[in-house]
């Protein structure tokens, strides 16, 4: 519990830093006034804080939380520490959806989507959601047919490869300008969401995220393995369907708005297990929400470090910052236990 409070305090602190720091320096007092809407603010500074930094920070919080929860659930349901949100090809599905929208609109519709602005953004979001949900539906269907978790995992990875292959084919037939737009989308960013879309994204996640608590008992039982869980009264097929659907929807929404963000969902659950020294999902679920949010906010801050023109790709920052942290936690834990594995 003290850890939870500490992390919450850190989230507030880093959130403030996110509003304060950036390539344009704005004094603390000015930021403070802008947030509390005290009059007499510089209109440019106000725009930077309210239309750029604030949406980014909010996006980072909910996206980080969502991906971490999804990673936690995937690792438990597949009993595989390497599982993550991207493992079932759901994010590849999103990429495929976006690829269809971006690349085909150029080749067939004759317009480069990148020029369309808002309508183009909207189309990409819809494409991503459609792509990821259709892959998810396929996986859920398969999960009711096959018995073993490993089989399902392999099928998921295969579907991911197929999606990537289709993307490759689409790219081959596309104009260069569209390919560039697609590649930029693929880098992942918390900054793409703006204005009304941030609000929509935020509300969706605020509704969906707490639903993760409905699955804690199911996930705790799944830790024991399918047979034991079943003997304790759990319907395995239904449990799998719930967890994969829920996790898939989280990934679909986040990927639609932020692009594929890889490292976070895999790493944060391990970080949480290391910090809280438990496998109990009643603790890990809130822990992943908090640590995921903090992690994403921190990465977002580093990506926009003062002195850097523009922003670094989020995917690079998450791995560069996150990998050493996770490795340190795992190493320290092993030394504490004094037991080699």
């Amino acid at each position: 519990m003290p850890y939870m409070l500490l992390i919450t305090a850190l989230i507030v602190f880093v959130f403030m830093l996110n509003l304060l720091l950036g390539s344009v320096s704005i004094p603390f007092r000015a930021v403070w006034n802008i947030i509390w809407n005290a009059g007499g603010n510089d209109i440019i500074q106000q725009n930077i804080v309210l239309k750029s930094r604030l949406p980014q920070a909010v996006t980072a919080i909910v996206a980080g939380a969502g991906l971490s929860i999804s990673g936690l659930q995937m690792q438990t349901v597949f009993r595989n520490p390497l599982a993550g949100p991207s493992v079932l090809g759901i994010s590849s599905g999103a990429s495929m959806g976006v690829a269809f929208v971006v690349l085909l609109s150029g080749s067939i519709g004759g317009v480069a989507l990148s020029r369309l602005g808002f309508a183009g953004d909207m189309a990409m979001t819809v494409g991503a959601i459609a792509g990821s949900l259709s892959v998810m539906a396929l996986i859920v269907y398969v999960s009711q047919k096959v018995k073993g978790n490993v089989t399902l995992l392999i099928i998921g990875v295969m579907i991911g490869y197929v999606a990537n292959a289709i993307i490759g084919v689409l790219k081959f037939f596309s104009v260069e300008e569209d390919i560039r737009a697609f590649v930029v989308w693929g880098l992942g960013s918390f900054a793409r969401v703006s204005g009304n879309q941030t609000t929509l994204f935020f509300y969706m996640m605020i509704i969906v995220l707490p639903l993760s608590f409905l699955l804690v008992k199911t996930l705790n039982l799944l830790l024991l393995g399918d047979a034991y869980a079943r003997n304790l009264g759990l319907n395995i097929k239904r449990a799998r369907m719930y967890v994969i659907s829920y996790s898939g929807i989280l990934v679909a929404i986040v990927t639609a708005y932020c692009g594929p963000i890889n490292f976070l969902g895999l790493a944060v659950p391990h970080l949480c297990r290391g910090i809280f020294k438990t496998s109990d999902h009643r603790t890990l679920t809130p822990a992943c929400i908090l640590v995921g949010a903090l992690f994403a906010l921190t990465c977002n801050l580093i990506a926009r470090m003062p002195g850097i023109e523009g922003a670094l790709p989020v995917n690079s920052v998450t791995a560069l910052v996150g990998a050493p942290v996770v490795i340190t936690v795992l190493f320290r834990k092993r030394r504490n236990n004094g037991i080699a594995e």
Binding site: V216, K217, N220, L221, L223, L224, G225, A227, Y228, R230, N231, L232, G233, L234, N235, R273, K277, T278, S279, D280, R282, N337, I339
Partner: protein
Amino acid sequence: MKKETIRIDSLSTGYRLKREVRVVARNINASIHSGELTCLLGANGAGKSTLLRTLAAFQPPIDGSIRIMGRNINEFSDKELSKAIGVVLTEKVDIRNMSVEDLVGLGRSPYTGFWGILDDTDRQVVRDALAMVKIEMLKDRMTDTLSDGERQKVMIAKVLAQQTPIIFLDEPTAFLDYPSKVEIMQLLHSLSRNENKTVFLSTHDLELALQIADKIWLMDKEKGVVIGTPEDLSYDGSLSSFFNRRGIVFDVGNGLFRIDNECSRSVCLTGNRKLFPLVRKALQRNGISTLTESTGCTDIEVNVSESDTGLEFTVKRDGKPDMNVSGINGLLESVQ
């Protein structure tokens, strides 16, 4: 207070594949009683696991019926089943960062609410379960630091916390050292007695099962399932015909198995009779059978005695001087 808790009628077990039905065992008729420890014996591939999985409702029977406490197993909901049958399986459960107490607590899942939070009653049941298996001192240990024997006890505590009248165990003594095997079997036996549980387990540990089980099920691909007390089965020859292989002899007298080497020679034992079994075992292992004076003697006589330093032997052969040797090793060298 023994009661029939499981009734099996013309049961066939097996798997339904796409085009065919693969039957593993057919037409089993039996009942299992509470307050008894029943051991299922059989060679690899005889269908022990399939039978256990079918009885635990992990897979449907191909034919026939299973009645649990008078009700057909198909009529049980998942929830009811989880309060009637508890299982301990061969798969290894080691969850990092989960304490023994929490793992045993998961056994309360059928009784806990939506969030799976344990109330005072649940916690008391968990404490009682740990006490019954005598592992209270392990309660704060992490499951991934346990030895195989400890982990098996934890899983048994989990099944006790589940408070089911019926407990199935799939090879609970596999991978354990011999003292731990004995300990686990004794534990299960006392649970069946003291808690009036129906305990049904599969095992490869023949001698242990024959000594401790109340009922034995012998399972074989051709002969089907033969059921009885260990003594009845050994008396009527079922056990010896069941394990009738070259080199294994079932000793009807003491109800235990013996590995039999073919003997080409024999010696005659005299002296301290108390020491005969030990000497006989060593000689038999080396292909020498033993006789005593009552059965008539051959040309080699071995006089067995005991001294402060250990076993002493005097080997007498016709036409040769007597030889005094000490220790089994010395004896073996002198008679070969």
